[in-house]
Amino acid sequence: MSATARTLELGRVGESVKRIDAIPKVTGEFAYSSDLFAAGMLWGHTLRSSHAHALVSEVDISEAVGMPGVHAVLTHSDVPGAKTYGLEFPDQPVLAIDRVRYFGEPVAIVAAEHPEQARRAAERIRVAYEPLEPVVDPEQATEREPIHEGRPTAGHGFRDDERPNVVRTIVIRHGDPDAEADVTVSGVYELGIQDQAFLGPESGLAIPDAEGGVDVYVATQWLHIDRDQVAPCLGLEPKQVRIHLAGVGGAFGGREDLSMQIHAAMLALHTDRPVKMVYNREESFVGHIHRHPAKIWMEHRANRDGKLVNVRARILLDGGAYASSSAAVTANASAFACGPYAVENALVECTCVYTNNPPCGAMRGFGAVQSCFAHEAQMDKLAAELGIDPVELRLRNALAPGDTLPTGQRITGSFPAAEVIRRAAALPVPEPEELPRDALRLPGGSGNTTRGEGVRRGVGFAVGFKNVCYSEGFDDSTAARVRLTASDEELAAEVHCAAAEVGQGVVNVILQTARTELDLDDVVLGAATTSSVGSAGSASASRMTWMAAGAVRLAARAANEELARRGGNLAPGETIDVERIYHHRPTTPLDPETGQVTGDGAHVAYICAAMRVVAEVDVELGLTRVVWIGTAQDVGKAVNPQAVYGQIEGGIAQGLGLALMEEIQTRDGLITNASFTDYLVPTTLDMPPVDAELVEEPEPDAPYGVKGVGEPPTVVSTAAVVSALRDATGRELTRVPVSPDEIVGL
């Protein structure tokens, strides 16, 4: 490695700087969770349920334990502590106890010398299943036998809903939900199950210490909440379980829940050897939660001048077998159901149910994606009904600071919805391309066997929004530690923050903040671990930039003050070491009866984006091609503009995937396409050029005026792409991913 290649980028807040981990990532040196190695290491493997719903009467491991190379075969009876865990509700068994509730649920775990030995031993475990009728239709779930005993999510200040299999129900009543208006449009919309499909599979290494504790090196989004779930299941104190961030190959919400953490730790403690576990792609597809599939009924009532009068929505989310973060997704789907529009009357009902389908939880956009697809389809429909330009209709209704949301929360921070709409609408759309042309530039690319006779072009538009940070009273604080030392008269700093670097670039945010506040170049970042600093909260909800910058700024300013007290310099060997915890402004729960805010408001701040899309369809072949995407996004303040553009482009790709190709398919609860052969994600041939504009209106409450940037592009792009397809085909296209059948035969 050359010295020049290692030159530090010493950027401050607001400057585009190269990622500090870019060089090790391009050379192959960067250690991901699947790259770890320890002397004497064993390989762990998980035996998973082949049924979506079954009673488990016996797990016979006798043959497996005698297989070559096998060191341990463990079942639920070997779980040393709590038998269940969960991100918000402990409804999920570490290993199946007497019942499996979804296809792929972990039943037993094996450790062996070679991964193939572990796999083969797992095949010899005999599980006696008594299959049960799976609950697979979410519309019927509340009529069926409960999948869980008791009601794991009841209470918690949620609305009482006594029906079986309800995870959470929210009703938002705003103004007069019966208010009438000049015109009404309605529709029913559906979204399939999307997968995060991060490239780096679930993996990690657990190493037992000599005192009964364990170190777990893992790819995760929130180290401390992993620890707080792992330790009780191991029967250990939190300090005996140290979680360290290994290199993370993407996350997108899919690493909020635990995967192999407890399993690897159990095997390591049992064998007293390091144990590595790496899921393959198929296991990854069944081994983590997905984006909730949804069915949404919506009715918009508006006056002739285009002013929205009343929005009525009913949303059904399929949470799958375990709660994960479904309760919070339900809240988001409801709170953002009416879109970034001012509407005086609304009735939103949202229910998330347990089924025996794959469990769902957090994925980028978190409930707002589903709602945006529906409300934007409705806005296009309304525009057509009223004969008003779709962009103009959105502008006439755009929410602005000072306006009140259907939850009763008033927008007190920045919210440039009208500005992002204007800026996106003003982006020049590329001219139609002539025919004939190279097949690569036709819908379907080289799969297109025509000369483009059936090609039609459409232009679509969409706007969407969501919140930043956790909500409804959750205090997702972030800690940071700054350590100042002196050597050769020069000050140097080390920063510790457990914020998970998942690819988004928070490591640079931390360093840029520290350099800005300390006015020092010589700043290094310590490893993210539970053992050196307090919780950072989750790298999710578009919150990590705001919260990490807030915490590092607090700690750095405290260090500066202490330095000033000591006369502005440190003697060699002298140190200043301060840790500070940053809290965003408090929030409070929604009223369970009315869905209206209580106290401080349910959300911290809001972010929005608008998008314009040009797409072509081939109506003979049912193929699509997104030609161009233009977007304007509300980012508050871009800490590292290069990274912000990267988030926007990548976020758009995921929404485009949901619009056109991505869906986990199931039959009777069994996943039938758990591979990249059958679950398609956008490739270089699917992604169009993106023109992105940043709208920087600082958020008054936030450090440097930052907001979050990761989610809005994903929230909006599904809706925007389908809007363009509707324009091209004249069809309603009410379900995503849009299937070729819906495009052919015009």
């Binding site: 190269k18 391009v26 192959g28 991901y32 193939e116 490239l199 988004q504």
Partner: protein, 151 residues
């Protein structure tokens, strides 16, 4: 069984099981985890390496098939401590986010530019269509390829 390979100019030997892929042997037996495993089915390109100068998915090649052959992996692209121009371009343009796809893209891009030093837009898209990236939306990866082609 034993296999002998020349990897990044170095002769290496490993004892392998008959069923082990070249990717597994590189990563787990030869201490070269730079090539990534994201699908093991030839669908993602994360494991791209050059086998006798040809771009292949190391997950689809049995280690035994590679016995006696020459390999270049991502770890072998930098020379004399200087990053390969493709590596430098990926770091410079922000083409790396989580970076899990990066080794595969870097190797595939190096291969593309060796064959076609000034690829057209369509050529870039087609050449890299076997490599998945879930983070970047590819825009900055195309920037990197163009930057490397110009350098």
């Amino acid at each position: 069984m034993r296999v002998e390979l020349t990897v990044n100019g170095e002769r290496l030997e490993a004892d392998v099981w008959a069923g082990e892929s070249l990717l597994y042997v590189l990563r787990e037996r030869l201490g070269l985890p730079g090539s990534k495993n994201a699908c093991e089915q030839g669908e993602c390109g994360s494991c791209s390496v050059l086998l006798d100068g040809r771009l292949v998915c190391a997950c689809l090649v049995l280690a035994a098939q590679a016995d006696g052959h020459e390999l270049v992996t991502v770890e072998g692209l930098a020379e004399d401590g200087e990053l390969h121009p493709v590596q430098a371009a990926f770091a410079e343009t922000g083409a790396v986010q989580c970076g899990f796809c990066t080794p595969g893209f870097v190797v595939a891009t190096a291969d593309l530019l060796a064959r076609s030093p000034n690829p057209s837009e369509d050529e870039i898209r087609e050449a890299l269509s076997g490599n998945l990236c879930r983070c970047t939306g590819y825009a900055k990866i195309f920037d990197a390829v163009r930057l490397a082609a110009g350098s």
